[in-house]
């Protein structure tokens, strides 16, 4: 009896291994065909030599890269500061939009307008309007530094998106959780803070990180106001030498910060799938 069972088992394992080996071979062959074909197509095109010279010049890369890298710190500082502001402001806006207190009515209208307008206007337009509009007011005390103004514009735009992400999270927590929190004697505020928000934030971690990734590259929009951040410096180098390689250098730098975060995001999503798969429905 046991020998028969283990015989079947060995056969099954062998079949599984055979299938896995075949899969690996097919994947390898198709990769070579597709990627190799694509590379061959590009490298044999008539324009490739000039594209190579203007976009992938090693000497242009070497001269521009240190400058672009130094300018990139402006981008890094900017998105780190803006991200913190956005995470806080977005939460406040979302809470205002979900509150039912009558006293908060005007605030609720303002929050709704804020989200509608800033989500509906292209980010680059917000950057222009804030960057050139605020200094034109000539009010003392208002910032005039283009990096600060650009940061404010990005924070405005992204707070609208992030507020909606938070709000979706809050709405996704089943009303029975709030009922249970109230039933044990918590106030509405306590129920929100101890029971609803922690669950909401956990659920929207992935979309929040996704917005963080977009913000990391959208800091380049601040370049329209003139500060010397990575994209702007790369542009200047490109214009001086009629060579676009510095832009490739800038692109690589943006990738250096967005790709690792994207991998973190992938892992988190895989993890949350595992967790929710093992969770009893509420």
């Amino acid at each position: 009896m046991t020998t028969v069972a283990s015989g079947r088992r060995a056969a099954r394992e062998q079949a599984r291994r055979r299938k896995a080996r075949r899969g690996t071979i097919i994947a390898a062959v198709s990769s070579v065909i597709v990627l190799g074909g694509l590379a061959a197509l590009i490298l044999t095109s008539s324009g490739w030599p000039s594209v190579k010279a203007t976009f992938f010049s090693w000497s242009a890369f070497k001269t521009s890269f240190p400058h672009v890298l130094r300018a990139f710190w402006t981008d890094v500082k900017l998105f780190l500061v803006v991200e913190v502001i956005v995470l806080i402001a977005g939460l406040v806006i979302a809470l205002v939009r979900t509150t039912r207190a009558p006293a908060a009515f005007p605030l609720r209208v303002l929050a709704t307008l804020w989200v509608d307008i800033l989500r509906g206007v292209p980010t680059i337009l917000v950057v222009y309007l804030v960057g050139f509009g605020v200094p034109a007011l000539q009010l003392s005390g208002l910032p005039t530094d283009p990096v600060v103004l650009g940061g404010i514009a990005l924070a405005m735009s992204y707070s609208a998106y992030v507020a909606e992400v938070y709000r979706a999270g809050i709405d996704s927590v089943h009303p029975s959780q709030r009922a249970a929190a109230l039933a044990v004697g918590l106030t509405h505020t306590q129920a929100m803070r101890a029971v609803v928000l922690p669950q909401a934030v956990r659920r929207v971690m992935a979309p929040l990180l996704n917005d963080f990734i977009s913000l990391q590259k959208d800091v380049a929009l601040v370049s329209v106001l003139g500060p010397l951040e990575a994209f702007r410096v790369a542009q200047i180098f490109a214009a001086e030498n009629f060579n676009y390689t510095p832009l490739i250098a800038a692109a690589l730098l943006y990738l250096c910060v967005t790709v690792p975060l994207a991998r973190v995001l992938d892992r988190m999503q895989a993890h949350s799938r595992e967790v929710t798969a093992g969770t009893t429905p509420l």
Binding site: A179, A181, V184, G185, L186, Q190, A194, Q199
Partner: protein, 249 residues
């Protein structure tokens, strides 16, 4: 008023067009357990939610220890702190451990010191067979264990009365017993309870009075023996017969 811990007087409630409660009168006296029976949709859950002020009533009044709690001037948070409620679907907080689920209300709502709240919670959990599960998350527990935690969570604030909303309806049949035995024990200690239930055998055993809800009205009430053996109203007889048929299948 009479000596009731909970008094429900002429309570009505409608959700939009649907009239769910049509004038409920009910008294739960100290140390008494009153069972609410009736088909799904007869208004049992709504009545319990209205008493715990989780839903507003349209007309009538509810009294807790002689004090009207459905007065608009009454702070619902203070009222809920004096009552305990357990739900059909447990509604434990999934992001908190068992211990945190139990200590949340004593700490936040009653200002009990952390160490004291934890100690009290451990004692209560151990009493109901949940020792050693303090640091687990709810999804690691069986349905029966989760519902016992929910009972402990409601008891942790030493409520004046417990409202139990079909607390065994979401459980696998073999887990019903462990939850009911907790309620039986509480009854033995004199806990005042209003119990919406589909467990007729249990209602008969534990309840001092059984109320049959039909279409938003209590159409018949009485002591359990009489209600289950010789119901007077046609609706009650039909409901009990349907339950018996269902059990035979």
């Amino acid at each position: 008023m009479s000596d009731g811990v909970l008094e429900v007087r002429g309570v009505t409630k409608a959700y939009g067009e649907v009239q769910v409660l049509r004038g409920i009168d009910l008294t739960v006296r100290e140390h008494e357990a009153v069972a609410l029976i009736g088909a799904s949709g007869s208004g049992k859950s709504t009545l319990l939610r209205c008493i715990d002020l989780l839903d507003d009533i349209d007309d009538g009044d509810v009294f807790l220890d002689g004090e009207v709690i459905t007065d608009p001037a009454c702070d619902p948070v203070q009222v809920r702190r004096r009552l305990g409620m357990v739900f059909q679907a447990f509604n434990l907080f999934p992001h908190m451990t068992i211990l945190q689920n139990v200590t949340l209300a004593p700490q936040r709502a009653h200002g009990v010191a952390t160490a004291q709240a934890r100690e009290d919670a451990r004692v209560l959990l151990a009493r109901f067979g949940l020792a050693g599960r303090e640091d687990d998350y709810p999804d690691r527990l069986s349905g029966g264990q989760q519902q016992r935690v929910a009972l402990v969570r409601a008891l942790a604030t030493r409520p004046r009365a417990l409202l139990l909303d079909e607390i065994t309806s979401a459980l696998d049949p073999e887990l019903v017993g462990e939850v009911l035995s907790v309620v039986r024990e509480l009854k033995g200690e004199g806990m005042t309870m209003l119990i919406a239930t589909h467990e007729m055998g249990f209602a008969r055993e534990v309840a001092d009075e059984v109320c049959f809800l039909h279409d938003g009205l209590i159409v018949e009430r009485g002591d359990p023996e009489q209600m289950f053996t010789a119901p007077e109203r046609e609706e009650t007889r039909r409901f009990l017969a349907r339950l018996l048929d269902a059990r035979r299948l």
